[in-house]
């Protein structure tokens, strides 16, 4: 059986949760986010290339560069790329539409249009390092990065590629922030609502019996059919189904898991459903809530995976429960 080893990690992490200074939050009920701060992409990207990249691409390419440095040897040939993003290049679309309004539909800048596709970050990574395997950008709300990791892992065990750059990228934008605030999804205290996060995390996964950080051992997906199109569902059984499926895929049992890296993001009702699912399946188990540190959407969920890989736990289940009902779980082992 082919094992999917994580042999390199690169992260452009958000700073601790603090007041948003990137845009005006007056009139909004939320004020805070976990933003990337003091980030200098010139450290990672040549100026000529950087000019062609939006913030999302800069985060992603910088994280990929850090991962490649961490890898420390020649990259395997024909690598795949699978990147998760929840909202993608919303800011670029907004910037484009501003130009569209000011200058007219015929005179908006083509460079902004080229960067308005959600797979621009993955494309830049492929071009920068000549990665000619599959190149997909996967998007499934809060589960985007885990869903991307699942596809890349399936391709490594299938033998389509020997290795892949996997991860996620997200940017906190005024547009998304204000809409989430408007519908009451944000809450600075996380007592009933989330705090937004951003950043990028890239991991090099490859077929290998040894791993620097750990293995992606199994995945499970399901959907809570009680969920509406844009809210969380109420059925813990659907979450148990995905958790159990990821354990079966990893050929591990419930008792093998030392900790659950939970999806919990502060949305009270959704967190309670997940907590009930964990209780039903595991009884007592250590539960780690990374989103209290990074916020929701940090690297589209990839930071949750990175934390699990860098923890001292032996076997970890990473859970991701999305608005709209989508659920992806991953098992990380040593």
């Amino acid at each position: 059986m082919t094992r999917v080893a994580i042999n390199a990690i690169g992260v452009v992490a958000p700073a601790p949760i603090a007041a948003v200074d990137r845009f005006d939050t007056s009139g909004l009920s939320a004020r805070t986010a976990a933003l990337v701060r003091d980030f200098n992409p010139r450290q990672f990207i040549a100026p000529m290339k950087m000019r062609r990249m939006n913030t999302l691409s800069r985060y992603a390419v910088s994280a990929a560069k850090l991962a490649i440095d961490d890898y420390g040897r020649e990259l395997p040939a024909e690598m795949g790329v699978a990147i998760g993003t929840t909202f993608g290049p919303v800011q670029t679309s907004v910037d484009y539409m501003r130009e569209y309004v000011e200058k007219g539909a015929a005179l908006a800048p083509p460079q902004l249009f080229a960067e308005s596709v959600a797979n621009a970050p993955g494309s830049h990574i492929a071009i920068e390092w000549g990665l000619r395997g599959f190149n997909v950008t996967v998007t499934q709300r809060e589960s985007s990065a885990l869903a991307a990791a699942m596809y890349a892992s399936s391709q490594i065990v299938k033998g389509s590629v020997r290795a892949a750059m996997i991860g996620g990228v997200e940017e906190v934008t005024e547009m998304v922030y204000s809409v989430l605030d408007r519908i009451g999804a944000l809450d600075d205290t996380m007592s009933d609502g989330m705090v937004m996060g951003e950043g990028a995390a890239m991991l090099i996964a490859e077929a290998s019996e040894t791993a620097k950080y750990g293995f992606l051992a199994g995945f499970g997906i399901s959907r809570d059919t009680t969920a509406s199109i844009s809210d969380w569902g109420s059925d813990p059984g659907a979450i148990v189904t995905a958790m159990r499926a990821s354990l079966d895929d990893a050929e591990l049992g419930v008792s093998d898991i030392d900790a659950v890296y939970a999806s919990a993001n502060g949305v009270r009702r959704a967190d309670a459903v997940e907590a009930e699912a964990i209780r039903q399946l595991f009884g007592e188990v250590e539960v780690v809530k990374t989103k209290q540190i990074f916020g929701e959407y940090a690297a589209a969920g990839a930071l949750q995976m990175v934390e699990a890989l860098r923890s001292s736990h032996r076997n970890v289940l990473v859970s991701s429960v999305s608005a709209g009902g989508g659920i992806v779980c991953a098992v990380v082992t040593r």
């Binding site: 790329v81 919303v90 539909a105 596709v117 959600a118 000619r132 190149n135 033998g159």
Partner: protein, 404 residues
């Protein structure tokens, strides 16, 4: 992680489509055999001025075709609604023999812009009314994952949702991904396809890139000047072969294989030698042969030239090739699914759709492109190509089901 089992055969048991030439398979195929395109004056964005003014649009009012209440529909984007319409046709066809196990069905959708049309409406409303007053209900369906969520919600599918936003290669990637999850038994049924509604940003963006033909697109032709923008959605229902047989389902076709590669060349332009596309086609083919290629065939100078080289290298110069985009334009993130459904119908009907408006092929387009009129011909298998911004290439190989 369980390996996608290469010995598991993937059956296509349902197909649904909506695009500028029809609201379902029957209407679409009638247009195909009558060589009737769906390209007309752009009417979706009254008051906007673009350098070109044609498009391949679906009718404005989709509500008569929807299986849910107006109230539910009101919360969804146009891309969501197109997805639901196409998915319904596919799911109903697959469920004719016996009920689909919906609890274990995943939805895999490709889209390039999702609900961006509604995002633009919100953007304009904010300019006028400010961010505290602009109505935000529909912009919630802007994320590119929304069409998958909408389809799963409307049809009660519980296997999981996963979406691809890999520009114009999105739907092809979703279909391949879904097939692998069936092979690895991460799901038992897949509703896999794509959806994209026309939006202002895309219409304007391809124009500023000067990639839009002011006249209806003419793929592979000497006078080709670019794409015609379209919209639409299509889905396939995929199952493991043995499950489909056990259920008594009619197997429309077999998804034999797929290939996914990247040019790693340029953010928007394809590699001129077509090497990435060729590699995707070779991966899809494996040891199989092919009788017809449904090309990506956008009508841009670069694509049609590079794709011609790729096809010639992968399958030779004699296999007939055509671009269905000459009928319904470039449906962007949906194109991989829309053209997959066309490819499956071509196999079933044993008629290869033509490339319309192909007067004089370009000097760098040297294949048999089936000009003007459909060509009845024996076909056992056919490739469907779909490439996108970022250099992503996906090729799908479909075959007629072997009779036992």
């Amino acid at each position: 992680m369980r390996k996608p089992d290469p010995n598991v055969r993937i059956a296509v048991t349902g197909a649904g489509i909506i695009c500028a030439i029809g609201r379902n398979k029957a209407e679409v195929w009638r247009s195909i055999v009558e060589s009737r395109d769906g390209i007309a004056k752009l009417t979706r964005f009254p008051g906007e001025t673009f350098p070109t003014d044609i498009a391949a649009q679906v009718v404005d009012d989709l509500t008569p075709m929807l299986p849910m209440s107006r109230r539910d529909a009101k919360r969804m984007s146009r891309s969501d609604l197109l997805a639901v319409i196409a998915a319904r046709e596919a799911i109903e066809q697959a469920g004719e023999a016996s009920a689909l196990p919906r609890g274990r069905a995943i939805v895999a959708t490709g889209t390039s812009t999702g609900g961006l049309l509604e995002g633009e409406d919100y953007f304009f409303a904010r300019l006028v009314r400010g961010r505290r007053r602009a109505p935000a209900s529909r912009v919630l369906q802007q994320p590119t994952s929304a069409p998958s969520d909408a389809v799963a919600r409307v049809f009660g599918l519980g296997g999981g949702v996963v979406s691809n936003a890999t520009a114009c290669a999105s739907a092809g990637a979703s279909i391949g991904m879904a097939a692998d999850y069936l092979r690895s038994r991460h799901a038992d049924v897949a509703v896999a396809g794509g959806s994209d509604a026309l939006c202002r940003l895309t219409y304007s963006g391809f124009n500023v890139l000067q990639a839009v033909d002011p006249a209806p697109c003419s793929p592979f032709a000497a006078e080709r000047k670019g794409i015609t923008l379209g919209e639409g959605a299509a889905y396939l229902v995929l199952e493991r072969w043995d499950d489909a047989v056990a259920r008594g389902a009619t197997i429309l076709a077999e998804l034999r294989g797929y290939g996914a590669t990247c040019d790693a060349h340029h953010p928007t332009a394809p590699a001129e030698d077509g090497r990435g596309a060729e590699a995707a086609m070779r991966a899809a083919l494996g040891a199989d042969s092919v009788d017809y290629v449904n090309a990506h065939g956008t009508g841009t100078l670069l694509n049609d030239s590079a794709e011609t080289k790729a096809i010639a290298a992968a399958v030779g110069m004699t296999i007939p090739v055509s671009s269905s985009k000459s009928y319904f334009g470039h449906t962007l993130g949906a194109s991989g699914a829309v053209e997959a459904v066309i490819t499956v119908m071509a196999l079933r009907e044993q008629i290869a759709p033509p490339t319309l408006r192909l007067g004089q092929p370009a000097s760098d387009c040297t294949l048999d492109y089936i000009p003007h009129t459909p060509r009845p011909m024996p076909m056992k298998s056919a490739l469907s190509n779909t490439f996108g911004f970022g250099g992503s290439n996906v090729s799908l190989l479909f075959a007629l089901p072997e009779r036992a």
